[in-house]
Symmetry: C2
Subunit: 250 residues, 2 copies
DNA sequence: CGTTTGTTTGATATTCTTCAAGGAATGTGG
DNA sequence: CCACATTCCTTGAAGAATATCAAACAAACG
């Protein structure tokens, strides 16, 4: 009896139905009945302490994971041993999409703070997607978005200088925090400067210098990992315009 | 009558069933009956002359396209007007996957030589994928691979120097030509040096210099767009190992 | 055959990394 | 609560890699 009550309480917290992120996540555009079916396959909600791995490079692929609270970093390890950060993942975002092809995770996922995720066993998700058109479509849409975002990031790496890259990343994080009901202009980064730089293909020292320059310009205020965007328009013009202009900025 | 005969002949050339690329493309692991259904939705097989666009950035998304013969380049245009190449696409490869999310093409696709493609109307493909488990799975796999490949490319852009990038690209092309039954060590590039460099985030002059260096090392032979790989192992060690070693090489 | 497009080479400039070292923040065990 | 260790961040100076500029050359095209 106690178990019953307990599990039902837990259950409620675990359902997509009751999840405030459902409009950012897989259930978008599903009706209640369909969301109920999706709830039926959500298996575990592991809680990860900072530094704990959700999966590691080379692990067998069994499930996709949706971030429920907290944040994750995904990264691969190069032959020379150092890591390359491939992404930061906020609540409502899915990780593991790159593992479907080979049934093996090509990167590791590690928690940046206390983080909980929903586990979506992939084979069951596939079956469900065949039965629920809206779910199949949303899954394809999320994967398509990931592709488009990664390619956008490629453009950033290929064509943007260091200042522009940081502006683009700050605005991306800002937008994503905003979508999640948090402040878009004042937020706490869960990742180290070094991780930000690594993700952007820049040395940590370079990151530090750009943060300083942005502050000297009065564009941001940064105290440790606490960041406030003071001149979003300046950052946008840096992010949106081609190079050759960061000199004026520096 | 004539039309009938003509179209049936054309039809035969158009089917996935009779296509030598079916094992690289969407039909992988489908049985004959399922491939027949897939054939049923393949609508047009446009032939594109060099320089002709399959679609342009901003166009409405209606279909995915599989390259049947020839090759494509996808690219986005930056605010400052110059282009960023996001990929080269050989026979058997799908383009348009990044358009599913917003129903708009986020990049343009242009033919690099006389190229023919199979058009896969997306809504019909979605319906079919819901009915044919193997098709849904293959579609998800192809998208997953695209994500993994793009992220791998991100790592290349973030961590590799110019020599390593070219080695990685040459080996990638080599492997893909090999998979298609062509020589893996001797092939004709359909794209200009400038496009290769653009894709790799390097100036055309830099590309030219690296090509020269690779030739001086005896690793490749390049006459115009005709390329022969003479020392695959040297290229592999450059591609596979971390930086700091291209100095010895250069 | 002239025009356009693409390729090569050299010289110079710029951006970013690397190296080195000090300082701040955070966490841990006494 | 403090001392110590560890990690993270910052700053300066020097060096390396690649971009840019300029110009000649080659190839492809109509």
């Amino acid at each position: 009896m106690f178990d019953r009550v307990d599990s039902s309480v837990t259950r409620q917290q675990q359902t997509c139905t009751g999840c405030s992120l459902s409009q950012l996540c897989l259930p978008v555009s599903l009706d209640d009945a369909d969301i109920g079916m999706l709830d039926g396959i959500v298996q575990h909600q592991p809680v990860l302490q900072r530094g704990a791995h959700l999966y590691q490079e080379g692990n067998a692929f069994r499930a996709l994971y949706a971030v429920r609270a907290g944040s994750l970093k995904t990264y691969t390890t190069t032959e020379s041993g150092d890591q390359q950060v491939t992404g930061f993942h906020l609540p409502g975002e899915l990780v593991g999409l790159n593992a479907i092809n080979r049934w093996t995770h090509p990167c590791s996922a590690v928690s940046l703070e206390t983080t909980s995720v929903c586990e979506l066993p992939f084979e069951q998700l596939e079956h469900l997607a065949a039965d629920i058109p809206g779910l199949q479509r949303q899954l394809l849409r999320l994967m398509s978005r990931e592709i488009a975002d990664d390619q956008d990031m490629l453009l950033t790496m290929a064509r943007r200088n260091a200042d522009e890259r940081l502006a683009i990343l700050l605005l991306s994080l800002s937008e994503r925090f905003g979508q999640r009901g948090l402040s878009a202009t004042r937020f706490r980064l869960s990742m180290a400067r070094g991780d930000l730089g690594n993700y952007l293909g820049l040395a940590p020292e370079t990151m530090s210098r750009i943060f300083r320059r942005f502050q000297d310009q009065g564009w941001i205020r940064a105290e440790g990992r606490e960041v406030e965007l003071l001149a979003v328009d300046a950052l946008e013009s840096l992010a949106g315009r081609s190079a050759s202009d960061s000199q004026k900025a520096g």
